[in-house]
């Protein structure tokens, strides 16, 4: 196990991510933020608070559970079972400028599932993707619009993001991938 980002580095990386997003946003765009369960949700809340401070008005913030949209539901995974959790999006996504937030971008399959789930909720004006870590090796034509850091990680390793809100500590670690 090695540490990719410690607590302090996470704070600066989130700050840097926020700067990129804020610089890009037009004040008139009808922004809403949606985080992917569960680490994307935490990051979405943190970015949301900063954006609300900057723009001085509330920004709708929701959470998407993509389990029902996963493309591996019918593929045996050695007994590991996905847990369905709630999607909590209490605003209309139609014509919104949606900032989709996840912790790590890897294969792109979660983002694909998230976009399908989002489409079933309505028709946003635009969707952008922000991630804390882009580790590359996408298997689908999906790229992030805003990236905290890019990391070169071996396919045999997995990147784990821990947040105080969920795990009691802020850190990004790289560890050997769990073998299926």
């Amino acid at each position: 196990m090695k540490t990719l980002l410690n607590a302090e580095q996470i704070t600066t990386t989130v700050e840097c991510l926020f700067d990129k997003i804020a610089a890009d946003l037009k004040p008139e765009s009808d922004l809403a933020i949606i985080g992917l369960r569960s680490r994307g949700e935490v990051l979405a809340k943190r970015l949301g608070r900063k954006l609300e401070q900057k723009f001085g008005h509330p920004i709708p913030n929701g959470t998407l559970d993509i389990t029902l949209y996963r493309d591996d539901l019918n593929a045996p995974r050695g007994g590991s079972q996905p847990t369905v959790r709630e999607t909590e999006i209490n605003f209309d996504v139609n014509d919104k400028f949606i900032l989709l937030v996840d912790d790590v971008l890897h294969t792109g399959r979660s983002v694909r599932a998230a976009m399908d789930a989002l489409t079933d909720l309505g028709r946003p004006k635009a969707v952008r993707l922000a991630v804390l870590v882009d580790r590359g090796d996408q298997e689908l034509p999906i790229r992030a619009d805003y990236v905290g850091i890019r990391a070169d990680v071996s396919p045999r390793e997995s990147v784990k993001v821990h947040f105080v809100e969920e795990d009691g500590v802020d850190e990004v670690i790289v560890e050997p991938a769990e073998t299926l």
Partner: protein, 314 residues
């Protein structure tokens, strides 16, 4: 926040008697994630795309059958509706042959309602598809009880320590049996209320209290579940008249005045208004009867999802 490492391993849902508290809670937690589907503009998720669900109903049903159909459709499964009236069962085909034939067409999940208790269990032993019990004889009706406890949990947070009364025709009620298993496992105290002639023979073996007088217990109940008198299943005369039954065991406005202010009034349907429940109570502020129906969809989606996952991963 705790990581959920629980694994659901059952590819059939036959009854709640064999389920652990943890399994019950896992179904309820999973169902929460399905509630939102019914609130969207596009009420569909691709979860069971390409799967085939057959609704085999050997008994009449509107609520349960439509609820299972809709649950399967909302998860993008293909649904075959099978009813006894229009099938080869009338030509003498056995249950297992009928099911094997359907299975040969590639059915993944069989939802079955049958007038014989044990029919779903028999089917589960005989075919490879997942089997979900939608009510068998006097035995169990697991999804009804699941939606009942889901509704109580939604309204009260937990069943722990709640006093729940189940009133009426207990002996003919598969809903009551499944209810007893689910509610007691989740920590509630269940009292069965009705005339002695409508109590099951082995009521002493169940982890419940029994009362033959609704007025004795109404004041202490947190939840009251009113069962329908199943005239179609009755032999003999378990009570002198419907009027007398209503007088002693009907949930009337007058009785409600002696109940706790926030008592939850439940009914599995179909209701006989004026018999076991007065209209004013069924439609009143304490009634969660329509909420039960809405929650049934989420529960059935969750059950279809879980048995299919167990089948794929098993």
């Amino acid at each position: 926040m705790t990581k959920n490492t629980f694994q659901w391993t059952r590819k059939h849902l036959i009854g709640l008697r064999e389920l652990s508290r943890q399994e019950l809670e896992f179904i309820l937690d999973t169902a929460k994630g399905f509630e939102e589907i019914s609130t969207r503009s596009i009420k569909k998720a691709p979860t069971l795309r390409g799967k085939v669900v057959v609704n085999m109903f050997f008994e009449d049903s509107t609520r349960t059958r439509n609820s299972f159909s809709l649950a399967a459709s909302r998860l993008s499964a293909d649904v075959i509706e099978f009813t006894k009236k229009s099938s080869a069962v009338n030509k003498g085909e056995t249950l297992i042959d009928t099911a094997r034939n359907l299975e040969a067409m590639g059915v993944d999940i069989v939802v079955i309602r049958h007038n014989a208790g044990g029919a779903p269990a028999l089917l589960a032993r005989s075919i490879n598809a997942c089997v979900v019990n939608a009510g068998d004889g006097f035995n169990e009706h697991p999804t009804q009880a699941l939606l009942d406890v889901y509704t109580i949990r939604q309204m009260r947070g937990s069943l722990e320590g709640l006093k729940i009364g189940i009133v009426g025709d207990i002996s003919h009620s598969r809903v009551a049996r499944s209810n007893i298993y689910a509610m007691t496992k989740l920590g509630a105290e269940v009292t069965l209320i009705g005339p002695p002639t409508l109590m099951p023979a082995k009521v002493r073996d169940l982890p419940v209290k029994v009362s033959y007088n609704l007025d004795d217990v109404i004041e202490e109940l947190d939840v009251i579940n009113m069962l329908r008198i199943q005239f179609e299943r009755m032999g003999g005369n378990p009570f002198p008249s419907v009027r007398e039954y209503s007088h002693f065991f009907g949930l009337t406005v007058e009785r409600m005045q002696r109940a706790k202010k926030d008592i939850l009034v439940m009914h599995p349907g179909p209701m006989n208004r004026g018999v076991e429940i007065e209209s004013e109570v069924a439609d009143g502020p304490n009634s969660v009867i329509l909420r039960q129906v809405a929650n049934g969809l989420a529960i059935r989606m969750a059950v279809l999802f879980l048995v299919n996952q167990a089948s794929v991963q098993g």
